[in-house]
């Protein structure tokens, strides 16, 4: 047991090693070079994420474990890691123009995002409680910093501080849960905990509840969603775009893996918690967003709602349900990133604007942008045949197969309410009197918007590969 880790032991960690070493190299480059290097460091960070993804795909197939099973690379991890890397790379690309104008060119931004992504990858692969906690902290700490990275803005610093304090609180709850689980199971590995849950015990359920509180905070599910609107609104817009995509992927990954792998013996206990959480999130996401005029705040409530839908699949607790979660999160990040490219280009001579009323008449000045935004919003509302419809379809199907009829019915009703505010934005864009147009969209935002928009529009033509990959990924957990 005490043998030094051999090289073969480190092979599953290669993508993480690439990101860690590369991130530190970029940090050194940024510290010792002058400010003109910032653009180069941003590009290098994107390249690093791409390389890590390529290394991940080149790893030997099947389930690889390392360090006594605390680090696992299976199809589930591969699927979600690719998503997290895509989300982070897109977030860096989307920040290029904004950072140059508003953030006085700070190279630490991309380095912190690379390190945060490293934390996400570790979190997605974590198969014991210590690895889970360390990955979670490595993911979250850079998030607190980048939320406050607009130092001269009061709202950005407030967002950073609020996120930090509440994040520390949720980490504390998660740790308390982890210590209870460890105390009653006698082990921190998920497989060991699964054996212990077969013996039962009230203490384990207490621990599970506290763990869930921490997980719900990270994916911003009700009742631990309070931070989301304020942080989304206060943080610089590219940072918000990052928050809404990649960390949600990693958060859901840890939620699913911990629940399915470590607690398979007490399904009925966690199922009722998840049913409550997803119903509450869907309803809050649907109703609270109606009154919002600020686009970023609206997206915060929308993301709370989407997390509720994604958790339906987990509540089902079946392989099909997990497949639904994976598809949902894949489609969700494309919708979210696409919408945020539009928010990032809402800039005119008076500066950045965030109110949805400023979109009035967008269809006349910028027809392509308005079309893609409309498609993405229809997709979020779940209108067939766009991708968002299939995302919802798979989770509802899994819920019905698992006998959770109430959950599926509430989900459908909540998506009807949610459709109201998505359609309201489309109405403003297409039918209201135009106001002054926006500046031209930077190239990288155009590219991201076009990719996300086309993905959502054309998904129904060829859904096979993604659905198949999600299905294989879900089966690797069971």
């Amino acid at each position: 047991m005490n043998a030094a880790p051999s090289v073969s032991n480190l092979v599953p960690l290669l993508p993480e090693i690439v990101l860690g070493v590369g991130g530190m190299a970029l940090l050194m480059l940024g510290v010792y070079r002058d400010a003109r290097m910032v653009r180069l460091i941003d590009y290098a960070a994107i390249a690093l994420l791409v390389v890590a993804g390529a290394v991940l795909l080149l790893l030997p197939a099947g389930k690889l474990t390392s360090f006594d099973g605390s680090f696992v690379v299976d199809d589930f991890a591969r699927f979600l890691k690719i998503l997290a890397l895509i989300g982070s790379a897109a977030a860096i690309a989307m920040s290029l123009d904004y950072a140059e104008r508003e953030l006085q060119q700070r190279f630490e931004y991309s380095v912190l995002i690379v390190l945060s992504t490293l934390g996400m990858l570790m979190l997605i692969s974590a198969a014991d409680l210590i690895a889970l906690y360390l990955g979670l902290e490595l993911m979250s700490l850079p998030l607190y910093v980048v939320a406050a990275s607009h130092r001269n803005s009061l709202r950005s610093t407030e967002a950073g501080l609020k996120y930090f304090v509440l994040g520390a609180l949720s980490s504390g709850m998660l740790l308390y849960g982890a210590s209870l689980v460890y105390g009653f199971a006698g082990t921190v590995t998920f497989s060991g905990i699964a054996q212990a849950t077969a013996r039962g015990g009230t203490g384990l359920i207490f621990g599970l509840v506290f763990l869930f509180a921490g997980f719900c905070f990270k994916v911003s599910a009700v009742p631990f969603h309070m931070w989301t609107p304020d942080v989304y609104e206060g943080a610089p817009t590219p940072v918000t775009a990052f928050f809404a995509a990649a960390p949600k992927v990693a958060g859901l990954a840890m939620f699913v893996r911990a629940t399915i792998v470590a607690f398979p013996g007490i399904v009925s206990q966690w199922q009722q918690i998840l049913v409550f959480v997803s119903i509450a999130s869907m309803l809050l996401g649907a109703f609270a967003a109606i009154g919002q005029r600020n686009f970023k705040r609206l997206m915060a409530y929308s993301s709370i709602g989407h997390m509720g839908y994604a958790l339906i699949g987990l509540a089902a607790g079946t392989s099909q349900g997990v497949q639904g979660v994976l598809l949902y999160v894949a489609i969700y990040i494309t919708m979210t990133l696409g919408v945020f490219t539009v928010i990032l280009s809402m800039r005119r001579s008076t500066g950045m604007v965030e109110s949805i009323d400023q979109l009035a008449g967008l269809a006349r000045g910028h027809p392509a942008m308005a079309f893609f935004l409309a498609m993405l919003l229809f997709s979020m509302a779940g209108v067939p045949p766009l991708a968002g419809f299939f995302a919802k379809f798979y989770v509802f199907l899994a819920a019905i197969k698992a006998g959770l009829y109430v959950l599926a019915v509430v989900g459908v009703l909540a998506s009807v309410v949610g459709a109201y505010y998505y359609l309201a934005i489309i109405k403003i864009m297409y039918f209201d009197e135009p106001v002054e147009g926006f500046y031209k969209m930077p190239l990288e935002l155009k590219v991201v918007l076009a990719i996300c928009g086309l993905f959502n529009v054309l998904f129904f033509l060829y859904p096979g590969p993604l659905v198949g990959a999600a299905s294989a990924a879900a089966q690797s957990l069971f």
Binding site: R106, A131, A148, G186
Partner: protein, 205 residues
């Protein structure tokens, strides 16, 4: 054996006495110094128990870092601690009550302590006998082998914390006088000293 007992009572007595002094000393700097004394004596107790690693960690972390941090804060912030402590005696009865309840709970807990029979079964690998390795060695055997992944991850988290603190606080303001060591070292006598022959009664212009 008798020497061990004597040292136990010395360490324990000083620890309790200095703990009392921490909350009663008028000067906050004295409070912190008594806190350090309490930590050092607690470390002595750990050594008596054979937990030398814990003792060293207590000294390094609590005395070396935490207590020094306290001292800095106490000396840098102008807080009138004696004013804050006004009326502390009024709260003594309720404080003593809470303390007594906590003490009873601890005694009950420690008295009823038992390791679950199932827990022993789920231990993944055998624990080496205490006679074979001391506890620093035992930690070292697993820390850099089996747990090296966690160790490196913790290191990365600390790196991020450091980057974060610098990103959020470092400002490159123009017009700030900074030490330029190269310029200081490169100074020669000719540029630094000027010998002026001052004539009596005229002074320097």
């Amino acid at each position: 054996m008798i020497i061990q007992a004597i040292f136990f009572y010395i360490f324990a007595g000083i620890a309790v006495a200095s703990a009392v002094m921490v909350i009663t000393a008028r000067n906050p700097v004295h409070s912190v110094l008594f806190l350090i004394l309490a930590f050092v004596n607690a470390a002595g107790l750990f050594v008596l128990l054979g937990a030398e690693f814990l003792a060293m960690i207590l000294i390094v972390v609590y005395v070396g870092a935490v207590a020094v941090l306290f001292l800095f804060v106490v000396m840098m912030l102008d807080i009138d601690f004696s004013e804050l402590r006004q009326g502390i005696l009024n709260y003594l009865p309720i404080g003593a009550l809470v303390g007594a309840v906590l003490l009873t709970e601890l005694l009950i807990l420690v008295g009823a302590w038992a390791i679950g029979p199932d827990v022993v079964k789920s231990i993944a690998s055998p624990i080496p006998a205490p006679s074979d390795v001391n506890n620093t060695q035992a930690l070292g055997l697993v820390l850099y082998t089996r747990y090296v992944y966690f160790f490196e991850a913790a290191g990365l988290i600390l790196l991020v914390a450091m980057i974060g603190a610098i990103v959020l606080t470092l400002q490159h303001k123009p017009g700030v006088k900074r030490q330029n060591i190269a310029a200081q070292v490169a100074r020669r006598r000719t540029t630094a000293i000027d010998i002026v022959n001052v004539k009596p009664g005229q002074g320097l212009s």
